[in-house]
Symmetry: C2
Subunit: 423 residues, 2 copies
């Protein structure tokens, strides 16, 4: 359909930069994701396909928590026995219009945000951020974790859904992302501005629902306390935009990057649904007091969809406040990282100017050819989970995508289209 791979790439980056993700609802996952609505017990997980036995301990811990939350099991022992016996079917979030942070474990009754990309009409889903400390996404599964998931399903989700129904046409996410990028968010490890803007925008809407006033206060407190709340909205927004962009089924642009704790997988616009994978790296970064690199779980989570879209580590310079948090140095280091990332993209996103980059737009469209030619792989800002399930987050850092999956993808492009890194 396109005269050249560059023309196809141009169409893809235009689709990305003109995406219009809008938060329209919060529902239970089964009401939005058909595979979770059947009789069979199904869990979604982060990353390319993986079997339970191959998962990291925290990802397995998340599965235990999901079984307890769904009341498929009454005890941890029972849950682990069911999982070991293969009674649970696993599917990647990415195969079902969804993305999940860290373990990405998503079960039918969990509350998910519904983001519609008005440009294509497609939708994407993501669970909501549980806050910090002991949380399911980092592998914790005790009674506190399950109780919070129940509250999110029964109170937080329905309250936000009622609030959103008061908006004329949903809550547009690109204008918010654009405002917050001016406020130092990169939308992977730093979402404090977007979360605050979202909380203050929702507050009057929540006050005008018929939700019990005590519950409204609790919801407002949760939104106020949860500085990373917007991460999951950003993930769903990026997923909805990248999924629409990849309907252009040509070109060499990366349309998904994700990790399951074992493999790092990418999808490429001209190569359909195929995953190109390589072993994940383990993040390097700064650790909370009492923890160290030896306890770090290998890289996991669908949250690298933010980097795929051009945010997160790609836009490090937008968030000098996060550079230190992830152990990546000071302001000049942040500039150097985004300047390096600029070498592997085909354009800059004019809808997301970065003031600290002299108003240059966020990096736009990672080109497999450029990655292979330069050997520069995307840098990802990430939370670091403890290898031990139940502990949760122990730090934050950066991790590189492994070059091997880009090399494989380029080989596949060469085989199919005769494309080379130098084209």
């Amino acid at each position: 359909m396109y005269d050249s791979i560059n023309d196809a790439n141009r169409a893809i980056v235009e689709a990305i930069s003109s995406g219009q993700p809008v938060l329209v609802d919060v529902v239970q996952a089964r009401d939005a994701i058909p595979v979770l609505a059947g009789e069979q017990k199904v869990l979604l997980h982060a990353g390319p396909p993986i079997r339970f036995e191959e998962m990291t301990p925290p990802m397995q811990g998340s599965c235990v928590g999901a079984l307890l939350f769904e009341r498929w099991a009454a005890t941890e022992e029972q849950a682990r026995a069911m999982l070991a016996a293969g009674e649970i079917r696993f599917e990647p979030c990415h195969h079902h219009d969804a993305v999940g942070p860290m373990g990405g474990i998503t079960s039918p009754s969990m509350a998910v945000v519904v983001v519609e990309n008005r440009q294509g009409g497609n939708r994407a889903y993501c669970t909501m951020n549980e806050g910090i400390g002991k949380v399911l996404r980092f592998g914790a599964y005790d009674a506190e974790v399950v109780a919070r998931l129940e509250w999110m399903r029964d109170v937080l989700g329905p309250a936000l859904a009622q609030a959103l129904r008061q908006t004329a046409d949903g809550y547009a996410l690109i204008p918010l992302i654009s405002r917050a990028i001016t406020m130092g968010d990169e939308f992977h490890q730093r979402n404090i501005a977007a979360s605050a803007l979202f909380a203050k925008d929702m507050a009057p809407l929540l006050a005008r629902t018929d939700v019990d006033r005590g519950d409204v206060a609790q919801v407002l407190q949760f939104l106020s306390d949860t500085d990373q709340f917007f991460l999951n909205l950003a993930m769903a927004a990026c997923k909805s935009v990248m999924d629409q962009a990849r309907t252009v089924q040509e070109g060499s642009i990366v349309t998904a990057m994700t990790r399951n704790g074992k493999d790092f997988g990418i999808r490429v616009s001209g190569l359909g649904d195929q995953w190109f994978t390589a072993p994940v790296n383990t993040p390097q970064g700064l650790y909370f007091t009492g923890y160290s690199q030896e306890q770090a779980c290998p890289d996991m989570g669908d949250s690298a969809i933010t980097e795929t879209f051009g945010l997160g580590g790609m836009s490090m310079i937008a968030a000098p406040g996060v550079t230190r948090f992830v152990g990546a140095g000071g302001f000049t280091d942040a500039v150097a990282i985004s300047d390096e990332m600029a070498e592997i993209v085909v354009d800059f996103n004019g809808t997301l100017p970065i003031p600290t980059w002299d108003f240059q737009g966020a990096p736009l469209g990672i080109d497999v050819r450029k990655v292979v030619k330069t050997s520069i792989t995307p840098i990802i800002n990430t939370g670091i989970a403890s290898l031990e399930p139940g502990v949760g987050q122990i730090g934050a850092g950066t991790v590189r995508a492994p070059l091997a999956c880009f090399v494989q993808a380029l080989e596949a492009l060469a085989a199919r289209y005769g494309v080379a890194a130098d084209d």
Copy 2:
């Protein structure tokens, strides 16, 4: 008491950087400011002392609005007659522990925030931000303006006061300013991050008051819509800190900068309550559609207390997002401005690291000697009012403090202490 002027200056900047302003209450001005509690009709105004006849048209318009709001007059004509007849006594805000934005007109029934500096126990007061459009501080005084002031007195103020009573010990402002400086606020023309953080922090507290639920929704909506809400809190915070610092009655540090539309005035630590004044400049900047430089009112407002503290234009580099808004260029221009301001201060504020300045602290302690020696005067980020009363804000820009007041102050320091610019 101090061995040298540098020792005195050191004591002052230590007092500034260790200030602990805490928002403790919202009350009617008469309940906090004795001069407004008497029988006599008194209005506070911005800047050094000025008579009604000398005020700019918008500042006079603010006076009309205040008389209508206080029901001292029933019509504009009656208000203007009373003002012309000298029936109203005028006092500078700065003489009564207060600061006021733009015209700074503060009348007894207006709601004011109460900020206590825990370091010294002293308090400072400021009216609350009315939002944009037709507002009293820019000289508007129609029924809509008066009705909003009534709502702020009767609903917004009491609701926030109730919310604050739920905090253990008030709402600490330096931690908030420190967080928001990482989010691109400079706290004069850009307060969007601090305002959002404040709104989301107040939201659950407001929900837990016994204020009518519809009123809570209105308050949350107002806080959500008012991106400059935090400016007035920042002003009161800076005033409380600078007033405590100036109890060190020696040295050459500027402890207040303010403008009344006619004169720009400064106070200096070693020179007590004396104002050193020179004619104000008119801001240069960008204008809203339909307005231009010819319609710009000369510089006014106590808001330059933020620059005195080291924020606003002094910290331009913290807010590259505002640099364009005030017509001051791009990121490199913002760097250049703060680098220039660094030449006239004695230190940097370690409690307010600026990520975009490679984590150097905000400029701390404007030294009259350095200003005169370099001829670099502080740059102030400011809103621009229409010369015509009732119109309101027509743009935003920057304005330089006039050198003459610093020269006068240095002459006074020379006369009293034998200090020269080269000391």
